[in-house]
Every structure is written in C-alpha cells, then in structure tokens.
C-alpha cells in the first residue's frame, strides 16, 4: 500500500504550455456568456410576458443565481485543489463567513420592521441584549461590511494557511484539519452567545441599500452581479493559471519536493492561492445570502464543505470550465431530485461521489475530452 501511495495524482494533465489566456473560440464563448447574463436573462425575465414560452420564471432566476454562487465556490476549489493539489474541506466556512458578513448588513437594514419593532435585530431582542455587540460595530455601513466580507475570511485563511503550510502539513492531514476548523466554527456559530443568531442564523431580510430585496428588479440586479462576478473570476483564474505563478502551483501539485529542490519556497505560492480561493468563496457567500434570503451555521457543516469538492470533481478538476459545469450539473440534479424523488437524492449524490471517483477521475470535462480524442484518433 505504501508503495503506491507515493504517486499521488496520476490522472491530472501535465503542466500546459502557456498561450494567450483564451483562444478565439474561448473569447466568443465568454462574450456569449456575458450577453446571456447581461441582456438575455433580464429581458426574458422582466420584459417577456409571463405566459410566453420564452419567459424566464422568477424561480429559474433564483435557482440559476444560487447555482452561479456555487459555481464561484467550485472555481475557487478548483484553483486550490485541481491546480495546487490541496484539498480543502473548509471552504464551506469561508462561504458562510462571507454570507454572514452580508447577512449582518441585511439584518441591520431590516430596521424597525422586525417582529419586535426594535432597532436591534430580532434575535438580539430575544436574547435581551441592549446594544449591538462589538463585532457588529460596522454592520450599519454597506461599504465597511463589504470590506469585512473580504477581509475576515481572507485574514483567517491567511493565518491558518501560514501556520499549516509552514509546518508542511499536506494532503489528507490538511483536509482533516480544515474540516476540524470548520466544525469548531460551526459549533461556535450555533451558540446564541456568539451573536450570529444561533442555529436560526439570519433571515427575513427586507431591503438592501434601502431597496426592497424581494422585488424582481433587485433580484435581477443581484443575478447579473453574480453572473458577472463568476465570469470575471473565470477570466482571472484563466489568466492566473497561465502565468508563471500558476505554473509553479501546478508544479507544486505534481511534485512539491522537486519544486523545493529547484529553489522555490512553496509556502508563499500555496498561501497566496489559498487566501485568494478563500476570498472568492467569501464573495460567493455574500452574493448568495441576499438571493436565497437565509444564512445559518449548517452552511459550515462538513457536508457542505465536501459538496463543494464534489462539484469540482464531477465537472473535472484542473480545467477551469469543469467546476462550473459540475456545480450546475450537481445542483441542477439536486433541485430536480429533491422535488421529484426527495428520498432518492442522497442515493444519487452518494452514487455520484463513488462513480465519479472510480470511473471519471477527470470529471465530465475529462470524459468528454477523452471521447473527442478517441474520435479524432479513429478519423486520423
């Protein structure tokens, strides 16, 4: 057993030759995606009448908006797992922290419209608190809170990563301690005294920046924002993996010891991509909360952390479009299953975990590529 363990990731493609970030086909696809998000979706949702076959329902907008947030997480996971070879089970924590950051602001935006008609959020009134606790100091200000959305998870990831990578914790050990960290945070957030609404979390949001949050145009703005963020992050990731920095990351994934022998210190590289990945997740969380309208500690559970990994794995690690496809495929399947056959959803998800790891190590994208290559070979 020990003999085979030395080659850790046999299925991932070798470091690619750098070229311009995208080919002409790629740019066309990105442009199409931008048009879809910016023009097509708003028009079909807001302007096309409801009876029409082309109408995009509010339900679909909400669902796709939510899945796009998940896709950002999957992309972040791909950067750290697919390209650097570090499996994090703690990305659920960063996602939730971002969500809580946004949620705090949204809670304060409720103002006196809560069920206790107090300036404080309902759960604080319930706990008989008279003033907001210290960590809510900036929650009135949108800008300050958005800075915190990036800063808090980023700082946490930086500190945690610094100590973990410095003592060269790798592979499974890293996965398990990220899970332990997330578990500890979840227990902390479940406590009422922590000041994040205990196990109910935050919900019943009324408005954002003074605008009612539930009206279709607000939802559409959030949808467009999420879509543009996703596309932006995709382009950034695309650029990143082709820089020298990105190539060192892939070298670390394939043979960390050799990278060190070549004179690189992997610490800085790993720490940078780890922090970036955490921040991406946090931003996804902040976009997720106003669209879904609830955030609670279950977002930090071990299950949600592992699910992010499975989106990336199903779509295909080490290809940037793969995780996005994976997030759409798995979550699309989830929303269909939980409506049609709720009791079979976990069977399906479980089977997906098993089958993808056994038969599709490179995910859907890898499978399709293999199929295309075979065809090409047959033709040639």
């Amino acid at each position: 057993m020990s003999a085979v363990m030395t080659s850790s990731m046999p299925h991932l493609p070798a470091v690619t030759v750098p070229r311009s970030a995208l080919g002409s086909k790629g740019w066309t696809a990105v442009a199409a995606a931008v048009i879809t998000v910016l023009v097509l979706a708003p028009v079909l949702n807001l302007l096309v009448p409801e009876g029409s076959a082309l109408h995009l329902s509010d339900y679909a907008v909400a669902l796709i908006g939510k899945i796009m947030c998940y896709a950002i997480c999957a992309l972040a996971m791909d950067l750290i797992w697919g390209y650097t070879g570090i499996l994090s089970l703690g990305h659920g924590l960063f996602f939730a922290l971002g969500g809580y950051g946004m949620g705090m602001y949204l809670m304060r935006q409720i103002g006196r419209d809560g069920s206790y008609h107090s300036d404080l959020p309902d759960f604080m009134v319930f706990l008989d608190w008279k003033t907001v606790p210290w960590h809510w100091t900036f929650s009135e200000s949108f800008i300050a809170q958005m800075i915190l959305v990036v800063l808090v998870p980023g700082l946490l990831a930086f500190i945690f990563g610094f100590f973990a990578f410095r003592s060269r914790i790798k592979g499974v050990y890293f996965s398990i301690i990220t899970q332990a960290m997330t578990f500890a945070a979840m227990l902390l957030f479940f406590r009422n005294e922590t000041g994040f609404g205990g196990n109910n979390g935050f919900t019943d949001f009324k408005r954002i920046l003074g605008i009612p949050i539930a009206q279709p145009s607000t939802r559409m703005v959030l949808f467009v924002l999420t879509g543009m963020t996703l596309i932006g992050f995709y382009l950034m990731a695309r650029w990143l993996v082709n820089t020298k920095f990105g190539r060192v990351l892939q070298a670390i994934r394939d043979a960390e010891n050799r990278v060190m022998f070549c004179g690189y210190n992997p610490l800085a590289y790993k720490l940078a991509i780890w922090t970036l990945s955490a921040v991406m997740c946090a931003i996804a969380g902040a976009l997720y909360v106003p669209q879904v309208g609830i955030i609670n500690p279950s977002e930090m559970s071990a299950a949600s952390g592992i699910e992010i990994a499975i989106w990336a794995a199903v779509g295909g690690r080490a290809s940037l479009i793969g995780p996005i496809i994976g997030a759409f495929f798995v979550n699309g399947a989830k929303s269909w299953f939980t409506q049609a056959f709720p009791e079979f959803w976990l069977y399906f998800l479980g089977a997906l975990f098993i089958l993808v790891t056994l038969y599709l190590p490179d995910g859907i994208v890898g499978g399709v590529k293999k199929l295309l290559n075979k065809n090409a070979e047959v033709k040639a």
Binding site: M1, S2, T6, S8, S167, A184, S298, I306, F353, T357
Partner: protein, 552 residues
C-alpha cells in the same frame, strides 16, 4: 447534520426529582385524606372549637403559633383537621370552623353533623401556612413504622424546617433506625438549626454540616452565606470554615467524577478510533463512512434486541451477548463489500477515498432511513447495566459506562493480540510495510486487504454497539463521531495503535476538564483548536513513525 456534542449522550430521565416529590406528596395527601374521613370524626373530640377556629382564621403568625402549640401537645384529633385544612375543605363562620365535604358539613371541633351558616368564608392558606400544615402533618408520620411514609414525612418536613421543629426532629432522630433516613434527618436537623435565633445553635449546625459533607449540605451553607441573613460575625466565620471543609471533601468526588467521565469519553473515542486506526492508519483509506459503520453496528444491536424482545423475553437481559458479535459481523460484512467494490480501486489515492467514502456514507445513511425510518430508535439497557454504584456522596458511576470502559479495554487487547501474535496480523503488517515483497513471499495481498478492512469495519460496529447503550441510535449517529475519531487517529500518529490509545484518553480527559471550566460547546471548540495547533507543531502526531515507512 445535527450537532450533538459528544457528552450529550445520556438518556432522558423519566421524571425530574421535583416532579417525583410533588406527585409523592399529592399521593400521601389524598391517602391520608381518605383515611381521615374514614376515622377522623370519631376521634375529633380533643380539639376545642376555639382551637379549631384559631387554626383557621386570624393572621398567619397567630395561626402558626397555635399550630405549633397543638403539635407539641400531640393532640390526637389534629391530623384529621389538618388534612381538611390542607385540602381546602375548611370554612369559618362566626367563631367556628366547619369541614365541608360536598354536601356534608361537620363541626370541626366535635365532628358532629352541622349546618353551614350563611356567609361562611373559605379558609385560605398561603405558601408559608401550607408548608407549616404539611410539616405538622408529617410530624405524625415521622414516627410511622413504614419506611416510605417516614421518608415522605422527612421530605415534607425539610421544606419547612425551622427552630420550632427541632424537638420533633430530635425525637424522630432518636427513634430512627434506617441509616439512610437518619442522614436525611440529620440534614433536616442542621437546616433547622441553621435558622435558629441562637448563634451557638447556628455554629453547631455549621459544624454538623461540615461533618456531613454532601452536595446538599454545601447548597445549604452557600444559601445561608449568600442570602445575607447571617449577621453574627462568629457564625459567619464558622459558615465559611464549614463551607471550605465541605468543598475540600467534595472536591475529591468532583475530580474523580471528571476523571471518570473523561475516561468514559476516552474509551468511546478509543472504540470509535480503533477501527479507523486500521483502515486509515494501516491501509491509508480515509474512510468518511466509518461513522456509518458504527451506525450499522448500533442498528444491528437494535435488531438483536427486538428479536429477543419478541421471541425470548425471558433472556432479554442477555441480548447484548449476541448483539456484540452481530454488530461486528454486520459492519464487517458491509466493510468487506465496500473494500471489494470501491476502495480496492483507490489505494494510494487518499483524497479520492475521502470523496468516495463520503458518498458511501450518504448512501448508507439514506439506506438506514429507508429501512428503519428517520426517527431515532430505542435501544434499552439490559437490567444489569442500568443504574450505578454510589462511590461518594457526589459520585455515582453508571454501570453502562463502566461496562463500556471494560469493553474498550477488551477490544483493544484483542486487536493488539490479533495484529501482533496471529498469522493474519503478520500478513497485515507485512502488506502494510512492503506490499511487493509480501506478495513475492506468497501472501495473497488482495485478500489481506479485504480482511484488514473488514476487521476495521467490524471494530467500528462494536463501537456502535457500545454507543447504543448510552446514547440515541439514529441515522446520523456516525456523523457526530467522524471528526473526533479522525482527530484521535491523527493526533496519535498514523499507524500507531499505542498512540491512538493515548490520544483517545488524552482528548477525553482534556475535553471533560475543559468542560467543567468553560461549558460543553466551548470545551469542544478548544479541544479542536488544541488539536489543530498540536498538528502544526508535530505533523506526524504524538508517536511519529520512524525510518523508511515515515515518508509513505
């Protein structure tokens, strides 16, 4: 995933103590009431009409004074009247008291049928009056021949214990033969003395309580200290001394209690982690479904229990003897299937085993939900495992926990022997150390893998069987333990069974000690943080593997 901290695995108590006491006193009340109306009126001749009236009307201090005078006199007619008073069936009109029971009206003093005058008023007893009446009623029962009656009487007496009851208590104490009741009476006596107006008596009380050294004594002393009613400085000093003494005496029991719960938690963690020490430590499979294998063991225990309940109710107390092998075999069988079907193809890719086994755990959980329902199922302790032994006044060791500690020891011993002494253990070690060489020597490595994995799974099943005796059995039973058991294995050092033992016991004890200091959830968080920091310092765990295998 539901978050149940590890220590919250106690079964719910059927009734609270207060509830029991309440229902017991209600029962006595109704019993004595029935008795009183059967025999009461015949004897009700010693009580004068004035006395009956004085007991029923006027201000409370005067009523209580009358009551105590009558109790001291030992009036034979008093209990019946007091029963009526306690049951709110007494009315007063024109300097006379009447007992009204439905349509039947009696003169309280003579017991003769009477006519209720117009404008008769209900007698109202406030809390103080009620407890005085109850204590007075109890006074008679204090000397009863029946132990249970006496116990109830002492219970009701302790609620209204003050100086005036002292002669009564002393009389009862002299007559009391039951040692348990004697200690109870002594506590009541100390309580009564503590509220005495005489400073000397109060000091004597503190000394008696210091000798007593029970948690109740401490509560009494602390109450007296805290409520500020004590003004005499000598008594105050004596109170403080007594409190310190009691605290010192109780501290041993408390430390022993924390130690015991720590060892108990450690033994559970050990059972949960031992199987993982094989599948992860020796084979390198990150089995996230380990908790679900434990759950299968627990459900196997549940199934065996049901078979015994339905078919062999006479042997129900010994179902556990069959449940232990059944839980081992059930989990081992599932483990063998998993190894053959999934993990076999993933050796050497630990991260992939993590994902695949997570999928397995989802399927197993949902499978159990489909088979047994999503609700928790009830697994009952055999009679010999319920209850506990009282070691100290504040330390009770539950039998089921003691059995599990012993069980963990036996499993550990058996597994160590299996790995160290048997042929199969030799094969497992050889394959772990050098697979190609073992294969060349003719070891069927594929079979050894299956055997080793199902051994690890079977031990998880045993852990589940043990857990079913102290906690709830439900589909997400395993989820609560997976993070902890990985912590134990990683902390102990991968591939090190000795390390696993130390890590399990250490984590259990640290967790319980922190819990006493910071509360359950914070303790859990602190333990996780400690483990994370520890792994930063010593990534290879407590007991690092040395030599060639260290890099694997």
């Amino acid at each position: 995933m539901s978050v149940t901290p590890l220590h919250a695995e106690t079964k719910p108590a059927i009734t609270s103590r207060a509830g029991r006491a309440l229902s017991a006193s209600l029962l006595t009340l109704s019993l004595t009431l029935a008795l009183a109306f059967a025999v009461g009126p015949r004897d009700a001749h010693a009580l004068t009409a004035d006395e009956a009236y004085a007991l029923s009307a006027g201000d409370n201090d005067a009523r209580i004074a009358t009551l105590q005078k009558l109790v001291a006199k030992g009036d034979p007619a008093l209990p019946a009247f007091l029963d009526a008073l306690a049951a709110d069936t007494v009315k007063v009109a024109g300097n006379k008291a009447y007992i009204v029971y439905g349509d039947e009206v009696k003169d309280a003093a003579t017991g003769a049928p009477a006519k209720l005058p117009d404008g008769a008023e209900d007698v109202v007893n406030n809390n103080r009056m009620s407890s005085e009446i109850e204590a007075a009623l109890g006074a008679g029962k204090l000397l009863s021949k029946d132990v249970a009656t006496r116990a109830e009487a002492i219970d009701s007496l302790s609620k209204a214990a003050d100086e005036s009851k002292l002669p009564l208590i002393d009389k009862a104490l002299a007559a009391e033969t039951d040692p348990k009741l004697k200690t109870l009476l002594k506590a009541v006596r100390a309580k009564a003395m503590l509220s005495s107006s005489d400073a000397g008596t109060r000091i004597a009380a503190t000394k008696a309580l210091a000798e007593d050294a029970t948690p109740e004594a401490r509560a009494l002393l602390m109450e007296r200290m805290a409520d500020g009613s004590e003004t005499d400085s000598a008594v105050k000093g004596s109170l403080q001394l007594a409190l310190d003494k009691v605290n010192r005496k109780l501290a041993w029991g408390e430390y022993a209690g924390v130690l015991f719960t720590g060892i108990s938690l450690g033994s559970i963690l050990l059972l949960a982690a031992l199987g993982l020490a094989i599948t992860y430590g020796l084979m390198g499979v990150i089995n996230m479904a380990h908790g679900e294998l434990m759950m299968i063991g627990a459900y196997a225990t549940f199934a065996v229990q049901n078979v015994f309940r339905n078919h062999f109710p006479g042997a129900f107390d010994w179902y556990i003897v069959l449940a232990v092998p059944a839980s081992f075999l059930a989990a081992a069988a599932v483990g063998a299937v998993l190894e053959r079907g999934v993990f076999r193809f993933l050796y050497g890719r630990p991260l992939e085993t993590l994902l695949a086994s997570w999928g397995v755990s989802l399927v197993l959980m949902q499978g159990v939900r489909s088979l047994f329902g999503a609700q928790n199922v009830q697994v009952e302790n055999p009679a010999w495992m319920s209850g506990g032994s009282d070691i100290l006044s504040n330390l009770t060791l539950p039998y089921n926990r003691l059995v599990i500690i012993a069980f963990a020891g036996v499993v550990l011993l058996a597994m160590t022997l299996l790995i160290a002494k048997t042929r199969m253990g030799l094969f497992v070690r050889s394959v772990t150390q050098n697979r190609p060489m073992a294969s060349c020597m003719g070891v069927n490595t594929a079979r050894v893998d299956t055997m080793a994995f199902s051994l690890g799974a079977g031990i998880a099943g045993l852990a589940g069987c043990a857990l079913s005796q102290i906690g709830n059995v439900g589909p997400d039973l395993g989820q609560n333990y997976i993070v902890d058991s990985f912590m134990v294995v990683v902390l102990g050092g991968v591939g090190q069974i000795a390390g696993t033992v130390y890590a399990a016991m250490g984590l259990g004890l640290i967790n319980k000690f922190l819990e006493g200091w910071a509360g359950a959830v914070l303790a859990k968080i602190m333990v996780l943080v400690i483990v994370v920091i520890f792994i930063q310092k010593r990534p290879q765990g407590l007991f690092a593997m040395k030599g060639r295998s260290a890099e694997a």
